[in-house]
C-alpha cells in the first residue's frame, strides 16, 4: 500500500498572494494530478504530470503553476489568489498503465 500526503491541510491567504500547495506520494506512481473541488462542479483538472519534470495543462490551469522536480512530489502554486478560488484542492496519482486514481485528503484554501 501507499499514501498521498498533502500539505498544508488548511491554507489561508490574502487576495493577490502567491500560495503553494504540496503533494507527496510513496506509491512510486508515474502520473500525478491536481484537481480543484467546488461544490456542485465536480473535480476539475488543473495540471497533471506524466513523469518527473513533465507538466501538462488541464482545463483549469489559468492562474496556476505546477512543478514536478521528483517522481514522488508534485506542487501547485496559485500565482495570485482570488476570493473566488476558495475550494478544496486534491492531489492524485496512478501508474501509467493502471487506471485507478488514488487521492490525497486535500488542501482547503481560504482567501481573505
Amino acid at each position: 500500500g501507499g499514501i498521498i500526503t498533502q500539505t498544508p491541510k488548511f491554507l489561508i491567504g490574502q487576495e493577490g498572494q502567491k500560495l503553494t500547495l504540496k503533494c507527496q506520494q510513496n506509491f512510486n506512481h508515474d502520473t500525478m494530478y491536481w484537481y480543484r473541488q467546488d461544490s456542485g462542479k465536480g473535480l476539475r483538472l488543473i495540471y497533471y504530470s506524466i513523469t518527473e519534470n513533465d507538466l501538462q495543462k488541464g482545463d483549469l490551469s489559468e492562474g496556476y503553476d505546477a512543478s514536478r522536480e521528483k517522481k514522488s512530489s508534485f506542487s501547485l502554486t496559485v500565482t495570485s489568489a482570488q476570493k473566488n478560488e476558495m475550494a478544496v484542492f486534491l492531489c492524485a496519482s496512478r501508474t501509467a498503465s493502471a487506471e485507478t486514481l488514488y487521492f490525497g485528503s486535500g488542501t482547503r484554501l481560504t482567501v481573505l
Binding site: 498521498i4 502520473t31 494530478y33 484537481y35 456542485g40 462542479k41 465536480g42 473535480l43 476539475r44 483538472l45 497533471y48 506524466i50 501538462q56 488541464g58 486534491l90 492524485a92 501509467a96 498503465s97 493502471a98 487506471e99 485507478t100 486514481l101 488514488y102 487521492f103 490525497g104 485528503s105 486535500g106
Partner: protein, 114 residues
C-alpha cells in the same frame, strides 16, 4: 473533448429502498475505462467500481453498474440503500490507451435517511 454528465446533484432515499445514480458520457476515444468514485465526509475520494467491458455488470460493496456503450451510460445502482452509503459519488472516465486525463462528472450527493 470528453465529458461526463451526472444529472442529479442530490438524491435522497429511505434506508432499505433501491437507489440509482445516473451517469452518461460523451467521448472521442474508442477505448476507455469508467469509474465510480465515492467520497465520504472529510475523506479522500476512493474508487468504488471500474469497468471497461461493454454490457458486463460490475459489483462491489453491494453496488453495481453496467457499461452500455450503445446508450453512453454507466449508471450506479444498489438494491437496498444503507445509512452508511450517504456520501458524494462521482462518475469518471479515463483514457488509458494513450492520454492520461481522467474526466469527472459534477458529482451526486446521496443522502440515505432512516
Amino acid at each position: 473533448g470528453d465529458s461526463v454528465t451526472q444529472t442529479e446533484g442530490l438524491v435522497t432515499v429511505t434506508e432499505g429502498l433501491p437507489v440509482k445514480l445516473n451517469c452518461t458520457y460523451q467521448t472521442t476515444y474508442l477505448t476507455i475505462a469508467f469509474f465510480w468514485y465515492v467520497q465520504y465526509l472529510n475523506e479522500a475520494p476512493q474508487v468504488l467500481l471500474k469497468s471497461s467491458t461493454d454490457n458486463k455488470r460490475t459489483e462491489h460493496q453491494g453496488f453495481h453498474a453496467t457499461l452500455h456503450k450503445s446508450s453512453s451510460s454507466f449508471h450506479l445502482q444498489k438494491s437496498s440503500a444503507q445509512l452508511s452509503d450517504s456520501a458524494l459519488y462521482y462518475c469518471a472516465l479515463s483514457d488509458w490507451t494513450g492520454g492520461y486525463k481522467v474526466v469527472f462528472g459534477s458529482g451526486t450527493r446521496l443522502l440515505v435517511s432512516p
